[in-house]
Symmetry: D2
């Protein structure tokens, strides 16, 4: 996300004095709520969906994720790269290629 | 997100031949599933949470959001700014300041 | 749900002194979290799923719903019938038959 | 749920010819979507909520759970009791009393 987009989100919150509602817990609820409005675009069909509606709901998820990054003072690239380190270790190319198994299954573990 | 982080996510998917599983519908499910693993960090307490765990789950949400942006050929800044236009119109500062009411209530509409 | 199953759920909570954690908000989070563990059974495929896993996760959703009914002193049949009254009014058979449109669309409303 | 309530839900689906949309995957999405409309009642406050709204959204979750039980030919009491067997084993009273730890932590396991 560009710095000016990030700044716009922050200004939006500041001007409305909404930081008081943005506890990490409330933001986690909000991300889940918006993720499910996105999911609702695909409730009865996997292939017929309204792209404009998808864009709006995905944007809502991204805005609340940005709010949470800000609230907890996190750097997006840092946490994503930290998680990608884990994902690359859990899903080695030779075992995971073309398979959608969970890593516990790939590694012969009981879940 | 920096270009090199975006590239790393794309390479991760490509190397595992996982694009076949990344239908928009499956990605919407995945965003919701990860959003709820994030929510689980706050299941029984709003104030006591494991920051490391929060980072990991928030990163998972962000990675699947990136997958969906890629799948649908969307530009993150474009859709977020489009949505912020809507949000600014729905929540005028003078009506929304310090209130957490839904816009339908702020505007005197029945929901 | 049979009375003896309801009693078993209540006894489980009582014996562990867990009622203190069962605020309505925490139970709402828990229902969503378990609903997403259920959704995870269908994350990458709509048709291949582990029925035993589905049973377990659906049961978890039902147990937390029972906890919430108890917490708020609600009668399951009463609230379901109240909602079915609404659903029958929103989705008249002649308009809704064979269609998966949302009622706002069925009735020519803007959402 | 009383038999007549169950019958009403089944009749509602049958009359609208909606069984075609009720795949297990679509029902899992629907349970999550409704669970998040329930969660939305608590989005910004844990203590101030609209009980009527909570009743309606909880009822929606219960109706979709009933649809899924029907779709998969499951008996609600059977799956709940099967899961309670597991829960009682995972959370022994002496270890779990008054604690909201996950069973993996209670049993000294790495998650």
């Amino acid at each position: 996300m560009k710095q000016e987009t990030i700044d716009r989100i922050r200004k939006f919150t500041d001007e409305r004095d909404w930081d008081q509602f943005h506890t990490p817990s409330n933001l986690a609820k909000s991300i889940s709520i918006e993720a499910n409005e996105l999911l609702e675009c695909f409730q009865w069909s996997d292939t017929e969906y309204d792209v404009q509606h998808v864009k709006e709901e995905l944007a809502d998820v991204l805005v609340y994720c940005r709010n949470m990054l800000d609230k907890l003072g996190l750097d997006e690239d840092e946490i994503v790269n930290m998680k990608m380190d884990q994902n690359e270790a859990k899903y080695p190319v030779d075992k995971a290629k073309g398979k959608n198994d969970k890593y516990t299954k790939l590694n012969g573990c009981r879940q």
